[in-house]
């Protein structure tokens, strides 16, 4: 009797395993479907209502106070948006029942010590299921530590440093959906190598680790794809610098045709603004100077010719992305109040776009894992492929948990369908994923 049972169960086991192998690939991977999206007309970011009861909790770690508090606001709306949408769809399947999504703030204040405290509070007191954030690789590193220690999934959605997932820092609970500095460098170099219009580059970056590694990766990218190009000068300025004129004067005198900058705001905006004021009309290749409020102050003329490099251009890329963007824009026009009524929030372009997209992905992964048990989630997310808002392919590299995806470049023109106040990109140049790969983590070698 026993034997029979044993063989039957073995048989069943075999069948199950086989079916897993057969069905697995079909199951693996999710997709964002616009038609599934709920009616968002009642979404109010100013008064976001968290569900109560037994919920699935996202801990959003960002700067919510101090000088950088604008960052917090920006990403708060993106996570709330996704939560609202998913909640209206009924939530996600966790441990056999549908759970609604709750979003909880964790204020990093931009400081490592506060970040640790905030992350630990989210994990231990609020009992979040996943940590989400954050700008600043030194802060991301702190959160990785917390994630590792308390065995929580950390959806690292906003930091770009390659070193975060290298052999030293890798931890299996962290998944990096933000592209990395190496990808930026290769993307930029590849774009210019295909265009073959400009040959002389000047680098102006912020004087800290991120700025330097971005500059390095760009130079590496040039040697790889565009050896005939020349870097005619490079400068690194302190964060929140006041006067960029000395750098710009040097850049102008160097005869550069393009200035490559990794500056984020407000530095990036000030850089372009002061360049135009100084009559330095060299185009900037950039990743963060796509903030419409800052650009509108420079005006359509001054923003013409800016080349923006991005991991997400759903708004311009294709119909699907456009459709999603229009839904967002309608609400922006009709519903939202300050601070969400400025140009920054008009289109879910670069920054907002990828934050929304990868948050959908993350929730989809949990849904498919059917559990918030990290081990199960890791199994699902490693090697997972997801079709994003514009139908673009996102792949989570199994060996080191970094995203592999196509990247994009666009040159700003005027007029354009998006803004009347500034130039913006219409034509998008796609850099295939294999041309802009994240650095191989140790486990991938």
């Amino acid at each position: 009797m026993r034997k029979v049972l044993k063989s039957v169960s073995f048989f069943i086991f075999l069948c199950l395993t086989a079916s897993l192998f057969l069905i697995g690939p079909a199951l693996a991977g999710g997709e964002f479907k616009l038609e599934d999206m709920s009616d968002m007309s009642d979404f109010d970011p100013n008064n976001f209502q968290n569900p109560t009861g037994d919920t699935f909790k996202i801990g959003v770690l960002q700067i919510f106070s101090g000088p950088g508090a604008g960052n917090g606001e920006l990403f708060w709306i993106t996570t709330c948006w996704v939560a609202h949408d998913i909640n209206k769809r009924g939530g996600i399947m966790i441990d056999g029942k549908k759970k609604l999504i709750e979003v909880i703030k964790g204020d990093t204040m931009g400081k490592p010590a506060t970040t640790k405290k905030a992350a630990e509070k989210l994990v231990l007191e609020d009992k979040v299921d996943v940590l989400w954030g954050t700008s600043g690789s030194h802060l991301a590193l702190v959160i990785q530590g917390v994630a590792d220690r308390y065995k929580k999934i950390f959806h690292q959605s906003l930091s770009m440093s390659d070193s975060l997932m290298d052999e030293k820092n890798f931890n299996k609970y962290t998944f990096q959906t933000m592209w990395s500095t190496n990808q930026v460098g290769e993307t930029t170099a590849y774009f210019y190598s295909q265009r073959k219009k400009e040959k002389k580059f000047y680098i102006i970056c912020q004087d800290y680790l991120f700025g330097h590694s971005l500059a390095e990766s760009f130079k590496k990218g040039l040697t790889k794809y565009y050896p005939e190009a020349e870097v005619v000068g490079e400068d690194y300025h302190p964060l929140f610098a006041k006067d960029f004129a000395p750098y710009l004067t040097k850049a102008k005198a160097s005869g550069a045709e393009v200035i490559f900058t990794g500056d984020w705001l407000p530095d990036g905006g000030n850089l372009v603004k002061q360049a135009r004021q100084l009559g330095v009309n060299v185009p900037f290749a950039n990743i963060f100077i796509d903030e419409p409020n800052a650009l509108s102050a420079i005006g359509p003329e001054g923003t013409k010719g800016l080349v923006n490099l991005n991991q997400y251009m759903g708004d311009a890329n294709n119909e699907k992305g456009m459709a999603f963007g229009n839904k967002w824009k309608e609400l922006w026009e009709t519903k939202w109040e300050a601070p969400y009524n400025t140009l920054l929030y008009k289109w879910p372009g670069g920054t907002i776009g990828y934050a929304v997209e990868t948050t959908y992905w993350m929730l989809d992964v949990f849904n498919r894992a059917g559990s918030s048990d990290p081990e199960k989630v890791i199994k699902v997310w490693e090697g997972d492929v997801y079709k994003g808002i514009g139908g673009n392919r996102l792949e989570m590299r199994a060996c080191d948990h970094v995203v592999i995806r196509d990247t994009y470049a666009t040159e700003y023109v005027y007029p354009n369908p998006w803004f009347t106040e500034l130039s913006s990109g219409t034509e998008v140049f796609t850099i295939p994923a294999e041309k802009s790969m994240p650095v191989d983590g140790a486990r991938c070698k």
Partner: protein, 293 residues
């Protein structure tokens, strides 16, 4: 002018622009210290506050020029209120620098939070007025009108300040008070009121700098950080209470910034503090300073 010469000349003028802006902030700081002995940690916050006022006035009236007048005045008024109702009380308590320090740091924090509460946390933009946009070309050197305007404006303020200090009775009183304020009050002059005025003027000048800087920069809550520290260096190196020191060191730091970036960009910020440490180690009163305390 050859392009290389043009570059150097341009760098020199950049240094002048930043130096003059710095002077506007530092001169108030040094006057307040020289006369009242107050180490005002909130001074740069007034710079930022004025930039926000400027943004607001431009939003209401669409005129940079009205903002250029109203924003510094508003800032000066806030300064006067702070002096009259907070600083004066604290000075009476006789806690010395420590009291001023705690108070002004508190004020700095409150201002930066108030700004966020009123205007939000994101960056705001102020445009250069149309009449000051564009470039002028002199001897082959293109230079933006607005930056020249800043230099001109600062010179006007410097001139006005010099006029007040050296040609008016009030200036006489201020100069006398820097060396002996008790004696001044024994001559029938209401020193508390003079203090209030000086504090108001000091913050007003920081306010002018704030408005002048607004169109070049972004108005955001972290606006005050770097210029505040730089202004401190100016005051310390120039000598507490010395306007001449403030002028000289502001311009020096401005040029150090420009040419530091030109020649040794990686070390420019180190230089500033190394310079300050050296000066203080061997001349604790600063270059033009007369008094400690």
């Amino acid at each position: 002018m050859s392009p290389v010469t043009a570059m150097y000349v341009a760098q020199a003028i950049h240094g002048l622009t930043y130096g003059m802006l710095l002077f506007l902030v530092a001169s108030g700081l040094t006057l307040i210290f020289g006369m009242m002995g107050i180490l005002n940690l909130a001074h740069a916050s007034f710079f930022m506050l004025s930039a926000y006022f400027c943004y607001q006035v431009v939003a209401w009236t669409d005129s940079f020029w009205i903002a250029l007048i109203l924003a510094p005045i508003g800032t000066g008024l806030v300064g006067i209120i702070v002096e009259r109702f907070l600083l004066r009380k604290v000075q009476k308590l006789g806690l010395g620098h420590i009291g001023d320090l705690l108070l002004t740091l508190g004020i700095a924090l409150v201002i930066s939070e108030a700004v966020k509460t009123i205007w939000g946390t994101e960056s705001h933009q102020v445009l250069i007025p149309p009449s000051l946009q564009g470039l002028v070309t002199v001897a082959g050197l293109e230079y933006p009108i607005y930056r020249l305007f800043i230099i001109g404006l600062s010179l006007v303020i410097l001139g006005a300040l010099a006029f007040i200090l050296f040609k008016t009775r009030l200036g006489m009183i201020i100069r006398a008070a820097v060396s002996d304020r008790d004696m001044v009050s024994a001559l029938g002059i209401n020193m508390p009121r003079v203090f209030m005025f000086v504090f108001g003027v000091g913050t007003l000048m920081a306010g002018v700098a704030g408005v002048a800087a607004a169109p070049m920069l972004t108005v955001f809550p972290g606006l005050a950080d770097q210029i505040g520290l730089d202004a401190f260096v100016v005051v310390v190196v120039g000598g507490f209470g010395s306007l001449l020191g403030a002028v000289v060191v502001s311009l020096f730091l401005g040029e150090l910034n420009s040419f530091g970036i030109q020649f040794i960009p990686r070390l420019a910020p180190v230089l500033v503090f190394l310079f300050m440490a050296l000066v203080l180690s061997f001349k604790p009163m600063g270059f033009f300073g007369e008094r400690d305390e």
